[in-house]
Structures are given as structure tokens and as C-alpha cells.
Symmetry: C2
Subunit: 271 residues, 2 copies
């Protein structure tokens, strides 16, 4: 099911700047038992992304209506919301005035094995690197070729490795192709600083808030791959799949740890 600007459509104008330049933002959220999970945080991130790109953000109430409409009463689904700068003529200059376009798509919930959350996942380290761009860092924009290249490095149907970690151009550990990364060493939780590249995932925010609410410390900092040799726990997270403990990454092996389990319990798969 697809809505374009709130209307049931299968297609959008070929003049859309989302197609021509990736000029827009998106978010992907889970709907479980009729509840759109962490919807407020998803809408807030869309708004922040639009603001960064100078796209007039659609009103929140309109986006909420899109989510409800695209669901058509379906209680369990994934909804992807895309906001583009709308149609334009030739050339990079933004049209005047801008009429942003909204695309809402419904997909089934992913059928990842339960074992991913319970027993943990194995990760690759991608060869494709994330470029450094502070102006685009953090937001979930539509320029995602780096993730496409990274995901194309291994067989899409290989369910034994559902995710790859990506380094940036400076060799720092940043995130997975579709998840954020957390590590724990001696009881201290750490997650990469995303001021130069990467996507600030909704689940990352949820986890950071949860950790702080529990009075625990979390360090947002530069992480280099050598830390993989010393950490006790490693997990990746996004708002659709929740937290996946990592049991293998490259040559290293881990066990799902106490901190990981505690955060899985605390955050769950919906708010």
C-alpha cells in the first residue's frame, strides 16, 4: 500500500527531487498490535532532517494521518515515510516556492529469525566506508548509496549474517548499514559519535534515554575497530528490530551480556 501526498497512488512524478538528487529524508517505523512504535521520535527526526535540508516540514498531524491511512487498519506492519523537496525543474537550485512531497509505504514486519534477538547475530565489517560530512551527519536523508554498496558486499539471502558494521573515511567505527552500534567494556556503555557521519537512529535515542533514566553512564565518543578486541558486549539496534546482541564480528566472539539483556528488557520492541 502506498500513499503519495495522502492519496492512494502507486507512483510519483518523475520530476521529484527525491529521485533526481536524493533531496529528502525518510524514516522507517514498526507498527505492533496497532501501535506505531516511537512515532513521536520518528516524527521529530523527520522534522529535524527537513530543517537541516531547508525543506518545509509537513505538519505532524498530516504525517500521523498518513501513517494511519497507509495502515488501512493493519495492526502489524512497517511504515516508511519519505519527505522530499517535491518537484522541480532542471538544476540543483531549489524550486521557489517548495512544495514538499510525502510518500508513505506499508510493508510487512520483517521476518528475521527470533534467534537474532535471543541468541545474537554475526556481523561483517563492510569494505565500503562512510564519507565525512558534518552537514549531512545524523539525519536520515535519501543519499544512501554508501549503505547500498555495503549491503551489496554479501549475499542478501545469507541469513547467518544480517548486518555489517561500517567504518568512516578516518577508519572509525560508526554504525551498521541499518542499525546503530553500542559496545560495553567493564560496565561502561559506549556508542559512536555521529557528528561527522552516520544516522542518529530513533532506537539509539531510546537506548540513550533509557540508560540515563536508569542512572547509568553512556559515553558518546570516537570508537576505533581495535576496541572490538577488548569489549565485553556488543549490540546493534534499530527501532524496527530492537536490540540484537552480537556474538561474532570479524575474528572476535562475544556472548550476549548482562547490559545487553537489561536494555533489551527495558526497551522492548515498542514504546
Amino acid at each position: 500500500v502506498i500513499l503519495v501526498d495522502g492519496k492512494a497512488r502507486k507512483s510519483l512524478p518523475a520530476t521529484d527531487r527525491g529521485l533526481h538528487y536524493g533531496d529528502g529524508v525518510f524514516t522507517t517505523l514498526a507498527v505492533r498490535d496497532g501501535k506505531a512504535c516511537w512515532l513521536d521520535a520518528h516524527l521529530e527526526r523527520l522534522r529535524a532532517g527537513c530543517h537541516r535540508l531547508g525543506i518545509p516540514a509537513p505538519e505532524e498531524v498530516v504525517l500521523r494521518r498518513d501513517v494511519e491511512a497507509v495502515l488501512e487498519g493493519e495492526g502489524n506492519a512497517v511504515v516508511k515515510l519519505i519527505i522530499t523537496r517535491g518537484s522541480g525543474g532542471r538544476g540543483y537550485a531549489p524550486p521557489e516556492p517548495v512544495t514538499p512531497r510525502r510518500i508513505a509505504l506499508r510493508y510487512p514486519l520483517p521476518d528475521h529469525p527470533l534467534a537474532y534477538a535471543e541468541q545474537g547475530v554475526r556481523l561483517r565489517i563492510a569494505d565500503a566506508r562512510l564519507a565525512i560530512n558534518p552537514r549531512l551527519a545524523g539525519i536520515k536523508h535519501l543519499n544512501r548509496l554508501e549503505q547500498v554498496l555495503a549491503r551489496a558486499e554479501w549475499d542478501a539471502s545469507a541469513t547467518d549474517i544480517p548486518e555489517a558494521l561500517m567504518l568512516d573515511a578516518k577508519g572509525r567505527l560508526i554504525e551498521g548499514t541499518m542499525t546503530n552500534l553500542f559496545v560495553a567494556a567493564e560496565g561502561v556503555l559506549m556508542t559512536p559519535d555521529l557528528r561527522e557521519c552516520g544516522v542518529e537512529g530513533v532506537m539509539r535515542r531510546v537506548i540513550i534515554d533509557e540508560v540515563q533514566a536508569q542512572g547509568m553512564a553512556i559515553q558518546i565518543q570516537e570508537l576505533y575497530p581495535d576496541i572490538l578486541a577488548t569489549v565485553d558486549e556488543l549490540f546493534v539496534a534499530n527501532s524496527v528490530n530492537g536490540i540484537w546482541p552480537v556474538i561474532a564480528c570479524g575474528e572476535y566472539r562475544y556472548h550476549p551480556g548482562r547490559l545487553t539483556r537489561r536494555l533489551q528488557q527495558a526497551t522492548g520492541l515498542c514504546d
Copy 2:
């Protein structure tokens, strides 16, 4: 006029990976007096871009047919060809098999003042930087938010400044938002190395070939902004507008030089 996969359409499926990820390449060419200018080079660059991204390139004969069809007999126009990885499901993994999608759009030739080519243009230096990514460097892919950000830095209707130069994350001069950059000092022509970022323009190739055919040297090298203080000539070029001498860039002033005029003459606006 717009063709999608060779058929007259105004729209394309909202599942297209060009929209979702910028997963594709494009080229923009001028048609003058019924001739598609440097078409072979444009098609070759599309093919090379598809190859780099792992997209099966449409056959050349099909793309030539698209150009002809979208023109509908119009002898003077701009044609933009987009090739995407086609439609896919949710997630970065490429669909299996991939059915690439072709979009051909026709626009009027730009109405830039003749003075741009004759008297020269004034340039800005953009604040937005180009990120370093050797895997994506050179090809004209659909992830163009950096150019959008740079072009949004000044008034789109300000005809006195038609272009901005962009530096990369390491502070090197790379290109304009829609042009490649050439400078000349003491009779030696130089253009930035594009192995880490930037777009290898068709006109850049035409100019390099022309320079070499004339037995002149050209240096493809790292250029830093301090070179702007010492060069004798500066010009920007793309295949739609040809060569524009630069008369002002930031605080520096130039005169259209002998080398610039010679190359304008030699390359013209069409092959």
C-alpha cells in the same frame, strides 16, 4: 516530455530505488540543431557509472532510442537520462534479479546570458564541502545533496553568480556544483584530481582530449584554494554550457585568457 522505460509517462513507481536511496546514475546533454552533443561520451559515462554501482547497464541502442523519442523531433533541447536500479522491496539489499529503470526527460536549453561565455562569470566559493569517497568518486550518481546544499547558499535567481566552486573535506578545490574546474598558470593547464570525490564531466574529458590532441600538457593534480591567487586563467565547463571563463572568484579577479579562448574555440558547444 518524460519517458519512463521508453514509454510516455509523467510518473514512476514509488518503489523505485532511485527515490529511496539515490541508487542510480544520470547524465545531462545538450541537443543542438538536431545533434545530441557528445552523446557517445555521455552514454559511455552512464555505462561506467552503472558498472561501478553494479547496475546492469541498459543497452546503448535503447538509450539512443530514448534520446530520440523524448526529443519528438525537437532540435534544440536538454535531455536528462536517469538509470536506476529499478524497484525493490524494503532494505538496502539489491533486488534479485535487478530490472533497471530508465527515465528520459526533456527540458529547454538553458537561457544563460551569452555574456557568460563571452565576458566570463563570477564564482562563489561554497561553504558546503564534498565528502571523500573513492568508491563513488567520478561517477554522476543520484546522491547529490552536497550540490543541493551548495546551490542553496545563494539566491537561485542571482544571475550575476551562476556557479560556486566546492572544496572537499580535505580543503582541496574540486569542481563547481555543475561544472568542472580548470586553471592555467604560466601556460600550463591544470584540473583537479577526482579520484576521491567529484564528477568526471563529459566536457572535462572533451577538454583533456583536445588539449592532448594539440600536443599541450595538462596536469591532473591536487589543487588547493591558494592557487587562486597565482593562476592566470580560470574556467569552468560542462557539456551543456561549454566553457565559461571566470573573471572573479572570491577576492580574486581574472581576465579570460588566451588558453581559455583557444579551448572555447576548439571545443565549441557540440562535437
